[in-house]
């Protein structure tokens, strides 16, 4: 099975060997009857309308021509063009997946924040409770001080009466 020659693309950088360069130059210098194969035949060239004749020189082997495959750029763009519905569906799925991943991450962040907030609230509660105890102690102190003051006032009154 003869391997089909593929045309190099602009991304192939292998260079010609000296022998290949010489062969190319020789080819350019060679005379060939196909060199007169015009883009559009002159009207006077089209004189033979007998189609039963087959020009042997015009025969060519089918499927043996060398080929440069379609470039990746056009393969990709054509694929998306030819599979529009699938491309849109894939796009939507990708978008949804992206949103799902993104929302999951955001939910995790929110949960984490909530945990921190909850811990902070607990700390505040504890501090508040502690502060409440301090307040009670202060009230007690006030009552004691008040009692002491009342006791001192009573004594002062008694001393004044004696005087």
């Amino acid at each position: 099975m003869e391997k089909k020659q593929t045309r190099p693309t602009k991304y192939d950088h292998a260079g010609k060997s000296n022998r290949e360069k010489e062969a190319y130059s020789r080819f350019l210098g060679r005379s060939d009857k196909f060199d007169f194969d015009k883009t559009l035949k002159d009207e006077s060239d089209i004189v033979d309308t007998d189609t039963s004749k087959v020009d042997i020189d015009e025969e060519e082997e089918v499927g043996k021509e060398n080929l440069r495959p379609k470039s990746l750029k056009y393969k990709t763009s054509d694929f998306f063009k030819n599979n529009l519905a699938m491309s849109i569906l894939s796009g939507v799925i990708l978008l949804l997946f992206g949103l799902w991943v993104s929302s999951n991450r955001e939910l995790g962040e929110i949960q984490s924040d909530l945990k921190f907030l909850s811990r902070d609230i607990q700390n505040i509660q504890t501090k508040y409770d502690n502060n409440a105890n301090v307040g009670n102690d202060l009230n007690l102190f006030k009552v004691e001080v008040k009692k002491d003051l009342e006791s001192i006032q009573d004594r002062v009154k008694k001393i004044e009466e004696k005087l």
Binding site: A14, K21, D35, T39, R68, Y74
Partner: protein, 242 residues
């Protein structure tokens, strides 16, 4: 400024441009050529339409031919080639139209929609109309050792291949340019055709990879810098005679 005027003068002698795209022979094209013709004539994407090509015919080889009997514009499509010939009124304007409208339509619409692949050759013919010259007759006279001194009609053509810069060094790429020069002297007119071709060896699967617009720019450069540089001698005669 003078050079520019001379160049413009030469461009004014161009009467028509013919563009040919040759692809690997495909008999499927005969089956879809009717659809292609409909697309060219009636599609909203088409830069042609029924005014551009009011007539259609089919030859014995089932080649479809669209043409305009007034302008002589013609479009042919067969198993091997798509050929468009348009009459030139203003070279720069019409050349721009070919590059901006016609080529993208063929490349992106016709070749893609109808899956025409494996491009083998691009060709463009710049046809000039110049006044008659005795130089051609002198060639014939010399060649025939004075036996034919004043031929009534003369046609001379010759070709030359040249390298594509990229192909000189890239392995596996043997593209080349081929130029066919044709001079026909008939009645009182010298018709000079420059047929500039690029052969793709190996063939190009998708026409978009072969950059036809760049090929046309290359051909125009060759036309103005190489061909007109010596053809202008005959163009100058046009100026004097007119």
């Amino acid at each position: 400024m003078a050079i520019y005027s001379k160049e413009k003068l030469m461009l004014n002698t161009i009467t028509s441009i013919t563009i040919g795209i040759r692809y690997a022979r495909s008999f499927r094209i005969l089956d879809v050529s009717g659809e292609i013709v409909d697309d060219i004539l009636y599609s909203s994407d088409s830069p042609f339409g029924v005014k551009f090509f009011p007539k259609i015919t089919e030859d014995i080889n089932r080649e479809r031919i669209l043409y305009n009997p007034e302008t002589k514009n013609i479009l042919r499509i067969n198993t091997d080639d798509l050929i468009l010939r348009i009459k030139i009124q203003d070279f720069e304007r019409d050349f721009k139209k070919i590059i901006d409208d016609f080529i993208p339509y063929f490349k992106d619409e016709i070749f893609q929609t109808y899956k025409i692949h494996n491009v083998r050759r691009f060709g463009v013919i710049y046809s000039h109309s110049l006044p008659i010259t005795k130089d051609l007759n002198s060639i014939i006279s010399e060649f025939s050792k004075q036996n034919v001194k004043e031929p009534n009609n003369t046609r001379l053509y010759f070709s030359q291949k040249s390298s594509v810069p990229e192909a000189q060094f890239r392995k596996g790429l043997n593209d080349y340019f081929n130029t066919i020069y044709t001079f026909t002297q008939i009645e009182d007119e010298l018709l000079a055709d420059l047929d500039f071709q690029r052969y793709f060896e190996p063939n190009v699967e998708d026409i978009r990879d072969s950059e036809p617009e760049q090929f046309l720019e290359d051909s125009k450069k060759f036309l103005t810098e190489k061909f007109h540089s010596w053809l202008k001698n005959y163009g100058e005669k046009t100026n004097k005679t007119n």
